[in-house]
Amino acid sequence: MELICPAGTPTAFRDAIEAGADAVYCGFRNETNARNFPGLNFSRDELAEAITFAKSKSVDTLVAINTFMHAGNEALWYKAVDDAVDLGATALILADLGLLAYAAKKHPGQRLHLSVQASASNADTINFMVDTFGIKRAVLPRVLTISEVAAITRKVRCETEVFVFGGLCVMAEGRCSLSSYATGKSPNMQGVCSPASHVRYRRDGKALVSELGAFTINRFAEGESAGYPTLCKGRFAAGEQSGYIFEDPVSLDALVHLDALAAAGVSALKIEGRQRGRAYIAEVVRTIQTTLGASPAQRAGHIGNLSALSEGQRTTSGAYEKRWR
């Protein structure tokens, strides 16, 4: 299985390659990609340089153009596709049907991957994308169990890629407007979720309150470590319950399932986190490559080395295990 690593900056891109990435994914510095955060991503020149470096190391570059085109401003997305192709990207990662249609028609030889943001959660959808747009790989949404991943991978006429480490979407990706409901900015349209521009922390007595837009997302007692207010990982009240009703502030770590994912026929493992620092990325890549290279007996020793890097130091296998539901 190939290891796909995120890069939010040119230095992180180099570090990921030095640390052993088989492929690196990145995006342009605008709302055409789903990690449109301040200070992140690549200019056209930076991407050209990165791709040249990657090629010299026989590493693939995947360019994510995986938000949905704004009606009336499609040219920005079309240009992103044309530029990525011109610069020699190995593959484009796309979600928007209109953009897929454009890329398939304009650049028939270009390798296309279906982004997780396309929310293709079953074999029928993926095979339709293969037949219609010639996609070569689908990134599976984080809503599937391992056995569902295996069943889909058996049935589809393209490769599959799954997330193994990093941020965990609780909701089906590409089908979530929670962020724009609270802030007006969404993953699908602006490439952001729970954006920092709308985050506020305030003291309430000894407690620390985190807010997103006009809504309280969490409240931390004195001494409790305060996490980022990602909407679906906040504390709320519903019925008789009060707490993390959607998901705890955990991140995904599916390394215990590496053998099962390999047996399922998955082609590529993806690390989330283009917003992460270069040291983090390099450490994660190194540890996962070591784990992948280890014998099954040795592997257990390596798993868990990453937990200190995880958000809130707590991890989950998420939907890969059925009991998560």
Binding site: F128, S180, A237, E240, R323, R325
Partner: protein, 309 residues
Amino acid sequence: MQQVTPSQLTLGPLLYLWQGEAWRDFYFRIADEAPVDHVVLGEVVCSKRAHFMAPYMQEVTERLQRAGKRVRHASLALVTLPREEKATRELRDLDGVIEISDLSALPALAGRPTTVGPLVNVYNAATVRFLASQGVTSICLPPELPFDAVCEIVGSVPQMDFEIFAFGRVPLAISARCAHARVKGNTKDNCQFVCAEDPDGLPVTTLEGQQFLALNGVQTMSHTCQTLIAEIPDLQAHGLTGFRLSPQHCDMVAVAEIYRQILDGTLEADQAEMALQAVYPDVPFSNGFLHADVGADFVRTPLPAAIGQ
């Protein structure tokens, strides 16, 4: 000369789980009394719920059709299991038009006229053109779309009919995990259908007591009710002809009657707002998405002058 299509009302699929008889009686009354042109039936949110309505589907469909309503059947929004894929493929066997809620229904219904519901990502005219090439004849645009995008899309593809999500709590997200069951101490696999205890959704508040969201099984909805009123003349002026009402646990016949008057221009916006508040009290209204603003907000300023007019 341009032909003017009169504005039409669509009653979207009931997104909550209601007991079978309550479901049937709701639609019987819609058939007999509600001034709606189209009715979308079927379970969109959770495949486990389908058996609640199944015994009544045929009589409800017939009653609606006898009353002159055009009936569509909606597909499931999140398809992951083989039995869900199978259920989606079997929509082919139904008479009439299918409303697609997940793209897996598109190949399953190839060659058939279909419509697309609000849970499919349609953000631009290029996507509309692609869907048109696949036999789609009508699209309910995603509730998240701002007005400029709506105008741009509606104006650019004249052969497609469009609807907008005009009334109802907004379906904001869907998950493999059932927060509704978990909040009530169950897992999804042994959920005991506890979502049926909340026929209008289970309110989610912040820790400071602000009303925020509503749980509907695996779906998360807005607490507010998206309510487009003052915006409707502008939408009509830009060629939008379909207006969708999403069933809430309130008098939807009255809601439809109010909207019919809004569409016909016989009810002023402020009166319409008061009338809707009387029919669906306790739930605040929102329209922020259309105003390119915070979705939860109710914006009273006019829509920006749109392009292409």
